[in-house]
Amino acid sequence: MAATFALEVATPDRLLVKDQVTEAQIPGLTGYLGVLPDHAALLSELGSGLLTYVIDGKTRSVVVSGGWVEVLPTGTRVLAAVAERPDEIDLKRAQEALDRAERRLKEAGDWDIARALRAAERARARLEAASKTGR
């Protein structure tokens, strides 16, 4: 039995994941964090992307965006503004969001560049998650 730690992924309105996992890859604001059992306590802002974790040798994933990740000796907690399981992703909507964001980044206009960048990142994370899980 490999060593495990508790992983929780929560959004303001629900708890998505609460499991004992052996490892997790979490998208931090400044890059992916790999978490294994007995990781040092750490607090970071969460980026947008695919959060993967391993339970009993099986890899699962959720798409997260915005929020924080807290690694504690007792377990890891991810508080995300938005989180979805791969099967909940609306592919059409994600593609539309990506197209819109890319268009806005190319053309100058009266919109928020930082927001468009974040939207593009979110949409890419969703599409990537969906394609990885074979949809």
Partner: protein, 287 residues
Amino acid sequence: MPSLIDFRRRIRSVKNTQQITKAMKMVSAAKLRRAQEAVIAARPFANSLRQMLANVAGATRGSETASQHPLLVERPEERVLVIVINADRGLAGAFSTNINRGAQKFLVEDKAGKTVEVEAIGKKARDYFRRRGFTIAGEYFGLTKSPKYADAAAIGRKVAERYANGEVDSVYLIYNEFKTVMSARLDIMQLLPVPLPQDHSGVDYIYEQPAEDLLATLLPRYVEVAIYRAILESAAAEHAARMTAMDSASSNAADVIERLTLYMNRVRQASITREIIEVVSGASALD
């Protein structure tokens, strides 16, 4: 004296009312269950966020930039904003009266002499405070039907911005906290300036970002989550209050029906007795 037909009519009408109150009770029970599930589902995020904020607050204590955060600075309290969360619809017993009275008492007694404004969530709150001449800063309807985080977040951003701009000096949240089906507790909570939770667990984090920056991102979310939680609690308390009110209305109707049936039988018996006397005395007159 009312006739038999009048009684039958009354009883039928009360029975119809009773059917409606019974149905409403059942609907409220179903909604209450869903509202309770939503309250429970929102708990892990809120609790973890609070703990994180407490830890970061502990780490940044004494820091100049942290205590100067726009959502933490304290000013002399002159302009008060209260967010009152109430129902959109009545027929929930004393639910809306309790919250409105409690809020008014808080504004008139505790905040006497200060400029006050009301953010009204729910028609019952808007109507009550508008009728009494309070300034309504904003009104939101239909939020407690199936509370959405995005709605709570929008209100949170609005009040946080007004606080940061110095338009108001404090923000309070007034709502009914769901305790049990039979009881709700009126809660008045200070939202801004954010009262930092003090119970930090003493963890020494590795900070990927400076703790002050994290504090600055945690605070607005903390405000939004507090409002969201209050809306969820209030929704659950409202359904519970309506369920209780409809339950007692149904049993009142049953009492009324019982009494009316008794009277009706008495009236019928009296008329039968009278007829028998008439027949008997008629027959004896023939002898």
